[in-house]
Amino acid sequence: MVHLYAVMALMLFCGAASGQENPERILQGAIALHQAGEVERSIPQYRAYLKLRPDAVDARSNLGVALARTGRYGEAIAEYREALKRRPQDPRIRLNLALAHYKLGQISDAAAELSTLHSKQPADRQVMLLLADCWLRRGEDRKVIDLLAQVDKQNQSDLAIAYLLGTALLRDKQIDRAQQVIDRILRNGDSAEARLLLGTAKLDALDFEAAIADLEKAAELNPHLPDVHSYLGRAHIQTGDTAAARLAFQKELELNPNDFESNLQLAALLKQDQDYDGARKLLDRALRVRPGELRAEFQLASVNLAAGKLDQARAGLEAIVKRAPRFVEAHISLATVYYRLGRKADGDREKALSEKLTMEQRARQYQEKIQ
């Protein structure tokens, strides 16, 4: 959390001569502790002050900052929301709220707050980049392209914008446009961002060994670059080096515990190693980042299936096929669950459905190839 509000001098001087219960003295003490780095001790002081002055927006915001600094993002969000009720137009509080959501893996909520901010102050670079990052994490690549394409034209030397835009273009399979952005980044010399983009492009082209070389270089140039370890993990999975993949995903999650792909992919690896509890924890986190994401929901169900938690697997898979009736793998897994629960007729039905969907899928692919 980045903003600690400077408290107005007025507040500092008000009631300086009062006794122990003087609210302003309490606030003064809270701020002094906060500024001295005694964040944990400042929190009860802020709370005591707010008990007496519940409408003090800045103090409530400060409490939010202090709570966030100690990792209590949920409580921080509650304070920011309370503050925004009283001062809904305050961009700093809303930004802090967005960041708290982001840290908690509530990327959709963070994106919503950032969208509000962006609509009011479209020139704010930090807001724009954070919003683009949220959308990337949610897989909303087109939105990122729409957001950044024009800005990128006007800020050709801004490598952060180029990097985010390039990533979105690659993911959206707009390879030619992505290549132009990558070339521009490369002209600025060897950089972690350029290597990351090259690596992801090679990953998409199924050239896994070359992708690993670029991604390892990117990680060497900037080990803190977001996503670099996540992509490296994905490349290692493709070569079958699950041990290296596991390490890479763990590194990414140390830097960014809410990286969706790392949570999802590492969970799949833990499932293979029969660490079902560990896999569930990661998938819970992935689903906080992208609520209802089908791949994560499916992995969670398949973890439950592998762990023999058949009723939980059944419930999860039934919900998935209801939402996504053409999800073949979900039907297959649901058939397995039904068979193991002794519900043969249901198993037969799901199996037949999966076979029908597979046939249709193959026919469609064949048709597309002919065309």
Binding site: Q238, G240, T242, Q272, Q274, I332, T336, Y339, Y366
Partner: protein, 555 residues
């Protein structure tokens, strides 16, 4: 009950022991390798898939292998299948002929194909081969899979074979059915070997789809072609078979069959069938003990990978790799896909490729034939695979064989590079069979490679570990005793499991003798045999390093 040591030909031993490293003391167990002895013999066979630039769908599957002692002289012989000219589908010249190599007493091989009547000149493009003594006369017979007519050859016992397909009733199948592999087994425990044929699709040169990219042919995705039922033929005796595909339940579960593996997966005394289906869910036909099977691949966890997706399942084997008394399954896949090691938990199979490191080891390879083979006699079955991509599209397409050594029944390490240069030529390896060609107690491998001469990989046998080789002779059970289960307890109490399995890997048929590596142990406390007939037989206190023939007890 008769116990007998299989006599070793003195001349053979002398030659092998000169050529190969002598056995070392048990305490200094070493990793053996393999030496190709094919060049020592005049072998005309080269697999020929008729590739001349135009790619036809069946071409990647050529070169089935069988190792069996066709003349019962105590030395293993080798049979190879071959392709045919395309699109004519005829063996227009001897380069397409099948081939029978008889092992001489000096360990070299002579081509006796014509004399034996096995050229197959009247057949078309042949794939797999299955050896089984279907009439219990003591001589191994041959079933050959084809694009067109499959063929059953009866071994006359005098060095010749007779095509008895028409009279047997075993040749029938829907037109244009590609039959890839087959396995003999006694599904109804009546003492007669029945036959399961793994079918792939419907194909003919007329229906061949041509796939091209940048004016270059490539082999089309199998999903372009329909799946078909595998066929089960029941042995009625007196050389007659009846097609029971529909009645038995096999018709209800079509697939694109590749490897076929026989084992009693649920230990109920009745043999079940696993079939690896290419780009289709794999099939596990569980024997219902009444002449019918239920396909339970999905339910038991072998049909799909752990993400509920199909792979390009190729060859398969079913053995107990961790010696827990339950038969596990292995099948390989194309590169980039996971070769699956499926551990039998008793109630279902669990994916074990990641935990065992098979996933990482196998990723760069496209595997075809394969098998569990305790190549170093340490008591743990290792995994061999003959590799090479389907197509010749990149520098990574030609590949060498792999040997993944079973460390402790839990994990595997890749020791391919240590198997010697003859193990490592890159190519498009396809069929492979396991056997003890020189009767030294160490398993050897015969491998085919597309449009190349075969390799006869002799195990250098220098591990210093001990072994036991069993020939089981059924009486109430079928004579070949396919499916008979053996539980061996060593003097130290270590328990090892194996069973009689002939159809192993892809398009191939292995030595029917049951092999055990014993590690440093020289004594066996007990040997328990569960025959397909239900008879249970126990032998006590046996020495290691012997060939033991066991006749099925009366009861």
């Amino acid at each position: 009950m008769k116990r007998a040591l299989v006599p070793l030909a003195a001349g053979t031993c002398a030659v092998w022991f000169l050529a190969l490293a002598p056995a070392r003391p048990a305490q200094s167990a070493r990793r053996p390798g393999f030496v190709d002895l094919a060049p020592r013999s005049k072998i005309s066979y080269t697999s020929n898939n008729s590739f001349v630039g135009r790619k036809f769908f069946p071409q990647p599957m050529c070169g089935g292998v069988a190792v069996f002692d066709f003349d019962n002289d105590g030395r293993m012989d080798i049979f190879f299948t071959n392709g045919a000219k395309l699109p004519d589908l005829k063996k227009t010249d001897p380069s397409y002929f099948n081939c029978l190599l008889r092992q001489r007493s000096d360990g070299t091989f002579e081509d006796v194909t014509a004399r034996a009547g096995l050229t197959g000149d009247h057949l078309d493009f042949n794939f797999g081969v299955a050896v089984g003594d279907y009439d219990n006369d003591g001589y191994g017979d041959l079933f050959i899979c084809s694009i067109g007519k499959n063929a059953l050859y009866h071994n006359n016992g005098d060095g010749t074979f007779t095509d008895v397909t028409a009279a047997s009733g075993i040749g029938g199948k829907p037109a244009n059915t590609l039959s890839i592999a087959a396995a003999w087994f006694d599904f109804d425990n009546d003492g007669l070997l029945d036959l399961i044929v793994s079918n792939y699709t419907l194909w003919s040169p007329k229906t061949d789809a041509r796939c091209m990219m940048n004016d270059r042919d490539y082999y089309c995705n199998p999903q372009r072609y329909p799946s078909v039922p595998h066929r089960l033929y029941r042995n009625l005796g007196k050389g007659r078979f009846v097609d029971v595909t529909a009645k038995s339940g096999f018709a209800a579960a079509p697939g694109k069959g590749m490897g076929v593996s026989i084992a009693d997966f649920n230990d109920d005394g009745w043999m079940d069938v696993f079939i690896a289906n290419d780009t289709d869910p794999n099939s596990l036909f569980m024997n219902q003990k009444n002449g019918t099977f239920q396909e339970k691949g999905l339910e038991l966890g072998v049909a799909y990978n752990e993400n509920a997706q199909v792979g390009s399942s190729m060859g398969s084997d079913a053995k107990d790799f961790d010696n827990d008394g339950k038969v596990d399954i292995f099948y390989n896949n194309l590169m980039g896909q996971i070769w699956q090691l499926l551990r039998n938990r008793g109630d279902l199979f669990e994916f074990y490729s990641s935990l065992s490191r098979i996933q990482k080891l196998s990723m760069p390879y496209s595997g075809w034939s394969n098998g569990f083979i305790d190549y170093n006699n340490d008591g743990w079955k290792d995994i061999y695979s003959s590799n090479g991509d389907v197509d010749m599209m990149s520098a990574k397409s030609p590949q060498h064989d792999t040997m993944f050594e079973n460390v402790d029944g839990k994990s595997f390490v890749d020791v391919s590079e240590e198997m010697g240069k003859d193990f490592l030529p890159k190519g498009y390896q396809r069929g492979s069979a396991f056997c003890d060609l020189n009767n030294d107690g160490a398993l050897d491998i015969v491998v085919t490679s597309l449009n190349q001469p075969p390799r006869i990989l002799m195990n250098t046998a220098g591990s210093g570990n001990h072994w036991l080789m069993l020939s089981l002779v059924g009486h109430k059970s079928a004579r070949d005793a396919i499916g008979a289960k053996v539980r061996l307890t060593t003097a130290s109490g270590r328990v090892l499991y194996n069973h009689v399995a002939v159809s192993v890997g892809f398009m191939s048929s292995s030595d029917k003798r049951v092999h055990f590596g014993l590690g440093p142990e020289t004594r066996i406390n007990s040997l328990e045999i569960q025959w397909p007939s239900g008879i249970h037989q126990t032998l006590k206190s046996l020495a290691a390093d012997q060939f033991l023939t066991v006749d099925e007890a009366q009861k």
